[in-house]
Symmetry: C2
Subunit: 529 residues, 2 copies
């Protein structure tokens, strides 16, 4: 399997018009063949119209068929994992084991959403039966469930070429709900994107789904993505990336004649609050754990721990000294793109010049795409007074914030911005004294981690990968990982006084799909008499 460089539009391919660009091998500093052709305005419209035409048929599919489709995509990825990983290694410089693991995670996501589609409980079916004798007015029979929103646009992310890209969580969850998907490929890994896109299209054909169920568009710039978000038939979008790009797309979605939600997962500093007991009990383990979490994938994770908050003491100073020594000795690693490496170098240089901020660890880099950890320290007062210190630096950089006492740690918790995660490291007996800190952090993050590390996101029913702004565009009301993500692509529809045969199966009296339903306020799988 080799990419050929054209956008995949419905069952066709477009390589005409638009500018062209190439992928880039950041480890070898060379461009990769072939050339990819940016989609044209006509390509965008054609993909959108095909998606709109496919939407009614997709909305009518059974959950079983949607599940089969997602499982077919997973099987196709699995069968071609070597081809996919070989291309992705060139385009991202990420190691083979990580990329193979990421394909496995992507397959796991697809299968978890398949299971949800098959089981059907996610539609949140609710039934109120008629009561003709109710006073002052009879009660009509009415029943509601979640239905698909319609065509969805997904933006591939730079840092997860599989799990948050073409067949990633946004695509999988939208397809599971029954929404057609148009992916705007990330230009950092177009070849990987095309290969994955073709495997999705094989599954579309094999499952007999309509043309327009899936399309994949290339663009080196922003025009195609913006045109997709603005297209009248598009009903929602999913994005993972920077605050700047995510906010621009969210604003575009909100400003449309008919506004649409853009679920953007953006910047997150993932604060880690380290209490004295944690240092007293396991300083060495914390040094190793924090070093590993912050350098994992060259710090290119949205859950990278970017802020370390702790109380000054000689033990804490020793701890940070040991951590800084380990960070400074970390060898150079290659980042995803020259642009990301350049931005990392620029942002760490700017932070180093902020008043009251001191560099505590900095390695040396030689390669064009190379990076080493750069860590800083400052006081709680300086942190609270300089908003620039709250911003995420994408890469293996963190800011240590020194507090006088626990009260100051609580104050810092009160001023940190929204994050995907917030972590608390405590000693064995002091954990239960942190209720106030936990309550504050619960208003700041989508996931609270106790005595662990923020990196590593479970894919499950209970996970929340979202958080207050700027972690996400929607104030953390949703997640982009796990089955809670399904609801993003759906809206409730109520059927009043409908006869059984006109209702969706999930709402029929006999409950043929055996879904959980709230019947007159009681949760049950029983049939309605």
């Amino acid at each position: 399997m080799k990419p050929d460089g054209g956008s995949l539009i419905g069952f066709g391919s477009s390589g005409l018009g638009g500018g062209s660009f190439k992928a880039y091998d950041p480890a070898k500093n060379v461009a990769l063949e072939p050339s990819f052709t940016s989609a044209t305005a006509e390509d965008v419209d054609r993909a959108a119209q095909l998606a709109a035409a496919a939407a009614p048929a997709l909305a009518r599919l059974s959950g079983a068929t949607r599940g089969k489709f997602l499982r077919a995509i997973a099987a196709n990825l699995e069968a071609k994992v070597d081809d996919l990983v070989a291309r992705a290694m060139q385009e991202t410089a990420l190691p083979e084991a990580r990329l193979k693991g990421e394909v496995g995670r992507t397959d796991g996501q697809l299968r978890l959403y398949a299971e949800s589609a098959e089981r059907g409980d996610w539609v949140d079916a609710r039934i109120e039966t008629a009561n003709p004798d109710r006073k002052p007015l009879p009660k009509p029979d009415h029943r509601s469930m979640l239905r698909p929103l319609g065509p969805v646009v997904v933006f591939g992310s730079s840092n997860f070429p599989f799990a948050y890209s073409v067949a990633g969580g946004d695509t999988a969850s939208a397809l599971a709900v029954g929404c057609p998907v148009i992916v705007k490929a990330h230009p950092a890994h177009p070849g990987t994107s095309e290969l994955v896109g073709r495997l999705i299209l094989h599954a579309v054909r094999d499952c007999g789904l309509p043309e327009g169920t899936f399309s994949l568009l290339f663009d080196a710039g922003f025009e195609v993505g913006q045109a997709l978000v603005k297209h009248p038939v598009i009903k929602a979008a999913g994005f993972t990336g920077s605050v700047k790009a995510g906010r621009a797309l969210t604003d575009l979605g909100a400003a449309r004649p008919e506004p649409i939600p853009v679920y953007a997962e953006m910047g997150s500093v993932n604060p880690v609050f380290i209490l004295p007991g944690a240092i007293a009990e396991r300083a060495a383990a914390l040094v190793d754990g924090l070093h590993a979490s912050s350098t994992l994938g060259v710090g290119q994770f949205c859950t990278n721990p970017g802020l370390i908050v702790l109380q000054r003491s000689s033990a804490a100073e020793e701890f940070i000294k040991a951590l800084a020594a380990k960070l400074s000795a970390t060898p150079e690693s290659v980042m995803l793109t020259p642009g990301i490496a350049k931005t990392y170098a620029a942002n760490t240089a700017i932070r180093g010049k902020q008043a009251g901020v001191k560099v505590i660890a900095q390695g040396q880099t030689a390669g064009m795409c190379g990076a080493t950890p750069v860590w800083f320290e400052t006081s709680a007062l300086t942190f609270a007074g300089n908003h620039a210190l709250s911003e995420e630096i994408f890469g293996p950089s963190s800011l240590v914030v020194w507090c006088k006492d626990r009260a100051e740690m609580l104050q810092v918790a009160g001023v940190v911005e929204g994050s995907l995660t917030a972590t608390l490291q405590t000693g064995a007996t002091e954990a239960k004294e942190q209720a106030d800190l936990i309550e504050v952090l619960a208003t700041k993050a989508g996931r609270l981690v106790l005595n662990g590390y923020p990196t590593g996101v479970e894919v499950s029913h209970a996970i929340v990968h979202g958080g207050p702004y700027p972690a996400t565009s929607d104030g953390g009301r949703t997640t982009s990982v796990g089955t809670r993500a399904l609801g993003r692509w759906a809206r409730p529809v109520c059927y009043q006084s409908f006869s059984d045969e006109l209702l969706p199966a999930e709402l029929q009296n006999a409950n043929p799909l055996k879904v959980h339903r709230l019947v007159n306020g009681e949760l049950t799988k029983a049939l309605v008499a």
Copy 2:
């Protein structure tokens, strides 16, 4: 109980500064005492800061306490129903029976949300237990549930002085979740608003809840509402009213440094599709039913049937002729405000001058606030080609759209804008042939009504009172009525590797609140071992 005209801010009252205005009796054309003082910028900030200060305590309340609080509000309204209705009759010209019924509905809403808060299932608790043996990585324990967003602003609506105003559905659902609420009173019924606000504050005190749990601000204009939506501590807003005002507030919420959702329920034409069988089988009943539905409350319902779509035939022409005769003979009624009556007169005059549009029913009005039904007819082609004909006229006015055949009815369904409801009237045997029409209408409305009328909204677990834009600002992803509305004011929070005593009760192993939980993918009330 008599209003005194000051905003209720926390446990205090503010009547200083700002301009002043009076309520107006539209039936008698006289201003009503007392004067109400518009809130100042300082009032707004004080109400917001009090709400922010109260938020953590409210978030920690048990569902049982929140339920008790809502029931106390309902009991207070019930005890003072005569005072409330007396003032509301003056301010709205709505009849006593309707207003008494509306207080009853408001109490019913409060008690339904109380029941949800007490039962606790709405938090959608999910638990994934640890698996230390999982390969390649151990699975951490993680558990999630919905938590309150924080301070919420609610805008009172003009047409429901109780059910969609100070203690209405938005307020009740936000309080049930544990969010402090600041209401911006509708200036058309400030006295009713103040009386209800005081009854809520009695309940706040009686239940020992913190100051800032509830505030009520007056303003004759837009400044106070805009300042509330822009205030940094506010996390969401609920609105019911016009597209123009709702969209302006939604845009304001989206443009904030930290965007917030403004759940606006706005314009809805509520199309009614009448198939030939319905006319053949029950023309006389349809005349009565449509007349009643469209003139109910002088057409001042968000679910008023504003668009009637049917196929031309001599039976259909007879039917419309009989309906038009009944409409023309309808006596004048008083609208809610002189402004609404004036806008109704202006909008019906404009519609009457549109090319291809003909007036088919028009009564005579004499009073300053009077209105009678004004109905129009046009062709499917004219309707599809003139967007102005898709817009709601607030009041007892509807547009009849004549189609050549069923195919043209389907086309009209495809071009109608988003609505709260869409209704299908069919004959006994033709209902089951409408699957395609039902599928199209399901993408256009939040509630589909078969052989009924759109007015009359159940308050229940299954109801959906929302719909695609412009019916709501959020594309119909939520509802403003019923228990599905609770999720608007909440976000999921995940707790990873937390010990039992640090978890919210809903997520503790023993399940002390006996809520339904998704434990490792299985829905159960059982404890976690």
